[in-house]
Symmetry: none
Subunit: 229 residues, 2 copies
């Protein structure tokens, strides 16, 4: 059995370091990021089995980061670290889909037990964040920003790729407008929303080669990439 990969995002240097060392001794493979932004790019560049996120962090808080992580991988297990055991915080956390919640100060043993519990229950369900997607007669290489249709190659722009990836990652489910905007455009504003609409149009144009693939509009909510057959 291979080592489980943990992503720790914690802005307190000391605590972060202690966590990392302790968990590595306990046989995990860990990465440490210092804030939400760094955490997201770390998450994007490697694949993990579980994320441990501090809530209060500079640049991007743990809740926001968790939402973005779940956008890419709904099943990714997340454990939050929080200073206070505020009820609202807890509720907000579980709304996002926290798998567990640890209130500081906590003992390393406690955290370890919770990590093991979460991993035990989520074994096998963990969906990797892929970089290649197949739907209908298309193959989409996110890495290379390339959309293949048979032997036709279509080069995509960065924004097109980002958006198509989110749609693929949520195939046959509704991709929330606001979540996608915050993820790709970093901000849900009027103009960004219009920009997104323009990109949806571009993607629809690319995808119209296959009738079985469609991007549906869910009015007031978002978009859904649907694949028949």
């Amino acid at each position: 059995m291979t080592k489980k990969k943990l992503l720790i995002v914690e802005d307190d240097e000391n605590l972060g370091q202690i966590l990392k060392e302790y968990l590595e001794i306990k046989g995990f493979d860990t990465s440490l990021a210092r804030d939400g932004e760094e955490g997201l790019s770390e998450f994007n560049s490697n694949s993990y089995d579980l994320c441990i996120l501090d809530i209060m962090m500079p640049r991007k808080d743990g809740f926001t980061l968790a939402r973005e992580i779940k956008l890419l991988n709904k099943e990714m297990p997340v454990i939050f670290l929080t200073a206070k055991s505020l009820k609202e915080d807890t509720i907000e956390g579980f709304k996002i889909g926290a798998d567990d919640y640890v209130t500081k100060p906590f003992s390393m043993e406690e955290l370890l037990l919770r990590i093991q519990a979460v991993l035990r229950r989520s074994t096998g369900t963990t969906t990797e964040v892929k970089s290649t997607y197949t739907f209908g007669r298309f193959t989409f290489h996110y890495d290379q920003q390339l959309l293949l249709f048979g032997d036709e190659k279509q080069k995509l722009t960065s924004k097109e790729s980002e958006l198509l990836r989110l749609l693929c990652q949520n195939i046959n489910k509704t991709l929330d407008r606001s979540a996608a905007l915050k993820y790709i455009w970093k901000d849900d504003s009027y103009f960004n929303a219009r920009s997104m609409d323009v990109y949806i149009a571009k993607l629809r144009k690319h995808l119209k080669k296959d009738d079985n693939i469609q991007i549906l509009t869910i009015h007031g909510e978002g978009f859904k990439l649907v694949s028949l057959n």
Copy 2:
């Protein structure tokens, strides 16, 4: 024989986890949601054989969740978990259509027996929440928001699709106005109710191609999609 799928909705992390683990050992395939909202979206995205719902939960209580589940699948077996054995609670529960009722604290064995009993009596009746409905000469693809009549394709809007799905799911039965409003419009208010009436009119217009299909008004209660022959 394949594993039965159970949906557990319980906000107490400990109890939820214990239930999940115990029932999995007993050979069930289980999912655990932490509150009513999460429970509903879980229910919507997978198909289950039985739901075990706690009553007192944040965001959306078990009764409300049960009503919404029954809206999508009247036959879905439901077992309620409740802290107190309040008479009103029990009555309210059975009114909704509880199949059983377990008062905390309870033993795992007791719950297991009840689950098995409910499953035994409901075997085979479990109606899947489909995404394609056929009635009269129509075929309705909820996923694609598409209503087919022979080779005529009618594209539906999101709201039309949501409403038609509820009607289909309750075909030849009365769809409760208030329940539908809370489900689709998230809120039963005067204006939303009028909006719903407008959409009923739209659907009637679409459905008038087939005389054998009608949306009846059940005054003061709701609407009923009836299919003759």
